[in-house]
Symmetry: C2
Subunit: 331 residues, 2 copies
């Protein structure tokens, strides 16, 4: 069971009302631990933070060349997107390049994560609005490259998932056997690896070192796409989109459900992965900004530009500010 | 800063994905501590768990007699309701008895908490759908009794709030001065008291002892109403409604936001109050059932009847069960 340290407070009036514990690890590609918070050797599900590696498995298959994929296609493949109209259009365009239909996606439908987009929908949401629809479209491209059926593409034994998990094992220096796999919200396998191993996989994404050449080329292509098209990785108002932009090409980052956040830090030649122990989404951005600042991966101006993610209001129904969510002093 | 102990797990596949820490206290009306988990002396905002005491302040004012209030009126005053049509009708009926209008309520509008009710709305939600609308209507009744204006009734200095907070201080044996008050989601003051003091206030609700006669009579009336009309305290599928029913008249309970849950235990002559340290709503029912069972306030059949609240599925978008939320073994 993962141990963390109290790290993010939720205040109301003059008092702390709730506290989130965080575990985190930053390592270089050589395995030097730059930062350790709580337990860094207990396996943790990376959830959607693994999407850059899933996209890399698609790229490695040759899909970019065969289907003429561009940065936007690769960014939406790596995304937990807001379901805004431009996201939906990007997934639709990707499916057309692959010769697939929305009906081939097995992610299920949910309302757009971006509330104005959800409120603006005249029809019920579709699979295209699912925040993982780009990833699923990418996996269909991988199916095509492997001459594998679309049927069952979400199953761990399907050739597409085997190829994805093999790449994830290589970049993580880990094995995802019994007890290490679960099923994600969108139906595909998710793997658990320690924060130390996960951070190393993001150090590889940052440095492109200690990888076989095809993996390195694939990671480079995905990283470049995420940095070039931040909107398509998340969307309006989202932390990942803003961190990618403010990182100015030197940070590639991805959030995962249940309070995971991962960053490839190009200047530090390192990776940082954190997990909010209780799984709260609200605590991940304040924790990430505080740890990135502590590592020196963000300077004061960048931290200030990310202020709305590092410290934000608890509002009541009437819209009045009644409290604050932010990292505890000293973090 | 509140300290708790790891208590509720969120699993996925064969692994624990996230963990919620809980602090809790059960005491008798004489102050004997029956159960202590984590820090029981750090003040905690009770949030909506204080609603039975707010309703009691309304009852103590004489509003029941003047306006002819019945159990349903008092239950909806004590409620965090689902916004189902019957809840909205109950608040409307209460407002009519008082001679007030929906427009007098300052709680703000939000969508019904019960999703089918939210989806069935043809018009935007109103203040009546706010889960606190019954409480606000009750405060309007108190304004009438005090000859105080409706204007500003949510402010801590308003005579209605002063009367409410005075009763809450009496039942808690505590003072809510500087640093002890915040503003709730619905705009009214919320007080912070330790779990020990909060549990004692629920022990008084359970026993009606160690109270002045008017407070005792008011608490008795509110408790009877909550037990008689469990649907109006919460609603379809809600833990409080089911616990009130299954408690068979021997438990009066109320949840509060940010992971608070409180119970008056009539057979044990005690109160139990818990807080999920990180504020997660999902962890409160499993923790409450586990602690009520440990105390002997629920027998095996009652625990079994509450099974869907004590242990429930994490489902993915497609509706497949991918994990479980429940108390950790041994709790």
């Amino acid at each position: 069971m993962l141990q963390g340290v109290p790290f993010v407070s939720v205040s109301r009036g003059d008092r702390i009302e709730s506290v989130h514990a965080v575990a985190a690890c930053a390592v270089t590609v050589d395995g030097e631990v730059l930062l350790a918070l709580g337990d860094i050797d207990e396996p943790v599900y990376l959830r959607s933070a693994a999407k850059p590696f899933i996209a890399a498995a698609v790229v490695r298959s040759g899909a970019v060349e065969r289907f003429g994929l561009d940065d936007r296609d690769l960014a939406i493949m790596s995304a937990s997107h807001n379901g805004e109209p431009d996201h939906v259009a990007a997934v639709r365009a990707l499916l057309e390049k692959i010769g697939a239909q929305p009906g081939d996606l097995q992610c299920g439908a949910h309302a757009p994560s971006y509330e104005p987009a959800a409120l603006a929908l005249a029809e019920p949401p579709t699979v295209l609005h699912n925040n993982c629809s780009g990833k699923h479209a990418g996996i269909l491209a991988l199916c095509r490259m492997l001459d594998a059926p679309f049927a069952g593409y979400v199953d761990a034994g399907h050739p597409a998932q085997r190829a994805i998990l093999a790449l994830c094992e290589r970049v993580s220096d880990d094995r995802f056997g019994a007890g290490r796999l679960g099923i994600d919200g969108c139906g595909i396998p998710v793997y658990a690896t320690s924060l130390r191993h996960a951070a190393r996989s993001f150090a590889r994404l940052a440095t492109l070192r200690d990888l076989d050449p095809d993996d390195a080329a694939a990671l480079a292509r995905v990283r470049a796409a995420m940095i070039a098209e931040p909107f398509y990785v998340a969307g309006t108002g989202r932390f990942d989109t803003d961190l990618l932009r403010i990182g100015n090409g030197r940070i590639a980052c991805k959030a995962g459900a249940e309070g995971v956040h991962a960053s490839a830090l190009l200047d530090l030649e390192a990776g940082l992965v954190l997990k909010v122990v209780d799984g709260a989404r609200r605590a991940a951005p304040p924790a990430a900004v505080a740890l990135l600042a502590r590592l020196g991966a963000l300077d004061d101006m960048q931290v200030s530009a990310l202020g709305s993610h590092a410290s934000f209001a608890v509002k009541n129904v009437a819209g009045l500010r009644v409290g604050t969510i932010e990292a505890l002093p000293g973090n």
